[in-house]
Assembly symmetry: C2
Homo-oligomer: 375 residues x 2
């Protein structure tokens, strides 16, 4: 279903590309003697402006690059649909329609399934672990190698943290409750739930509320409390499940056309890298600060927090790794990334348990109890 | 004891300062027409070069600033003791002996107790929460206000994650086992344990191994597996406790003399901020990647992992908050920072429990069991 959607976007994207190439003086570079050049870039994004967190991260990259170059290097940010549809950002970057984009690698698993690891996969790494993998565990090199096939270089520039498990109109206690459940959930999470009997639906963010409210679907996942509340999902369903095991720490990327990248002075390249890391750090800080406030407000408004049962989580984890193994057996590139990633995951998991988890279980577990009534 | 040590350093620091002022052409700024100026800074640090993680974070700031300015802005990094002793970095920055330093705010709680919150306090925020507080929760503004009394501005530029609880020659199962235990542990963690009967010792990193090995002390904490292994602590004691509840996510700071800061072109200021955030992110990535490898090696070599008992943790948490309340009642600045911080902590804790903790307990807890034999 994902592939069909991507194909249907392709025609629109090509038309937009042609129109834009005709009218836009893109990648303008002018040099004053002795000073750094003026550069003007366009950034397409996968986000509506209403998605303050992620559109905000894209804006933050542009703002920081401008601040670090006193405005000499400026990047104009466009919302999804303004230049190309939200799921065609990488195409626009590859073709040079725009010099850069802000998107997520897992929107492009139709081009290369291994791109999923650049964002998040079910039962994968949380934000802190993903950053460790990307910045010191060899992950970024692997992901950049995948992007290079699309004439693109990418840098992590946003993270959601562990997302929520989404909104359900009725409780789901075990795997049998999932049979025939119509749920909006894209990507690998959808593939896992499909194998457990869910009737998977793919809808853009803007259509979720109506579908859920009218009962066209029984359940839907989006991001987390802050973003979900903006879509009004708490008005359309009562039960809010956690954790979002299919997106335990989604990374969002700044994607840059390699030809444009190679034209940049080295200083500007280094500034872009630093701006991306800053957006990555701050995006998570914003989610972690705003999510608890939104969650509290929704619980006070009647939302019921529910934990996924161990039965559902266990079955989902088995299916997730079955999918990875199948993909690895069919696709050498997937196998390369998966095996390196899997080894990293197996190495860091016990450490996170000794450090973050042991500390959190003593200090934070009582706080969970105070809002859910359960430990 | 801490204050006495700081005082004993003061004489040395003053002498060094005078010597340096006489010989060093510091904060050299030269401008070529139309281009950004050349700037040369010195950075004192609290770290020996052998502390790859933290000395590495200081070096990383300098390296990134240089890369983003094509070497026009260069910062020379000095190990602890080369310009000033490791615990006198803020003094050197304040006096302008060096333009900047890499240190931790909690080394200077003798100057202002509230500086503890800039690094970490017992039962406080983990790394992800600390970053949320600093970058989006109002924390950095509060900490910078404290630093401004010392003619200094500071930016977070390193984090250890949840540290370990340290090395014990014999098991400590309950509070009565702590009575009279000679343990090397500085700062607020030491103050808490002192109230629980521990005979607190303060020793520099380089002296811990010998003291523990010879039995002059019964226990010692340093940082975590990667750093502790370098000191050889696993050869001096058998039991390795977790979690390090007194340092659940210590932040390390780039401290900058305000006069030097104000002389920088705006672009360079922005570049320094970005370099600091990058060092902050990467420092934690390095700890999270290297700690599990070191921990596994030490366990294979005979180290026994032990969790602090709930009895000890509960008693310690009570003492920690008793100390904060006492400080707040005596010190208006401490009260201001503490109350804002405490509210942030109470807000983010349930969210971390719903997201990171719920996810970690399903996915990572079995991994903990595999290396400790306990869940």
């Amino acid at each position: 279903m994902k592939r069909r959607i991507l194909l249907s976007y392709a025609a629109t994207a090509t038309a937009t590309t042609a129109a834009l190439a005709a009218c836009s003086p893109s990648n303008t570079t002018s040099t004053t003697a002795g000073a750094l050049p003026n550069v003007r870039w366009k950034m397409a994004t996968s986000w509506p402006t209403s998605l303050k967190t992620l559109y905000g991260a894209a804006q933050r990259v542009a703002q920081r690059v401008s601040e670090m170059t006193d405005g000499r290097f400026s990047i104009q940010v466009f919302a999804a649909g303004e230049i190309v549809p939200g799921l065609q950002v990488l195409d626009a970057v590859q073709q040079g329609t725009v010099e850069c984009g802000h998107s997520a690698s897992y929107y492009y698993i139709g081009k290369n399934p291994a791109l999923a690891f650049g964002t998040a996969v079910p039962f994968g790494l949380n934000a802190q672990q993903q950053n460790a993998w990307l910045y010191h565990g060899g992950g970024l090199e692997l992901i950049q190698k995948l992007y290079s096939d699309f004439n693109t270089i990418a840098f992590p520039s946003g993270n959601s943290g562990v997302q929520m498990g989404g909104w359900f109109k009725r409780e789901v206690n075990n795997v049998s409750d999932l049979q025939g459940l119509k749920m909006r959930i894209p990507g690998l999470g959808g593939e896992v739930l499909s194998r457990l009997g869910v009737n998977v639906q793919v809808l853009p963010g803007g259509e979720i509320f109506l579908a859920l409210d009218r009962g066209a679907i029984d359940a839907a996942e989006w991001v987390g409390p802050f973003d979900d509340e903006k879509l009004g999902l708490n008005k359309a369903a009562k039960f809010y499940y956690y954790p979002g095991w299919w997106e335990p720490g989604s990374t969002f990327d700044l994607q840059i056309n390699l030809t444009a990248w190679n034209k940049l002075p080295k200083e500007y390249q280094e500034i872009v890298k630093a701006a991306s890391i800053q957006a990555n750090m701050e995006c998570l800080a914003i989610y972690d600060t705003e999510n608890p406030i939104a969650l509290k407000r929704m619980i006070e408004g009647g939302t019921q927090l529910k934990a996924f049962s161990s039965e559902i989580m266990t079955a989902a984890q088995q299916q997730a790794f079955a999918i990875y193994e199948e993909n690895a057996s069919k696709d050498a590139t997937f196998k390369t990334v998966y095996e390196q990633w899997k080894k990293f995951r197996e190495t860091i998991y016990p450490w996170s348990a000794v450090s973050e988890l042991a500390y959190g279980n003593f200090t934070m577990a009582p706080a969970l109890q105070s809002i859910t009534g359960k430990s």
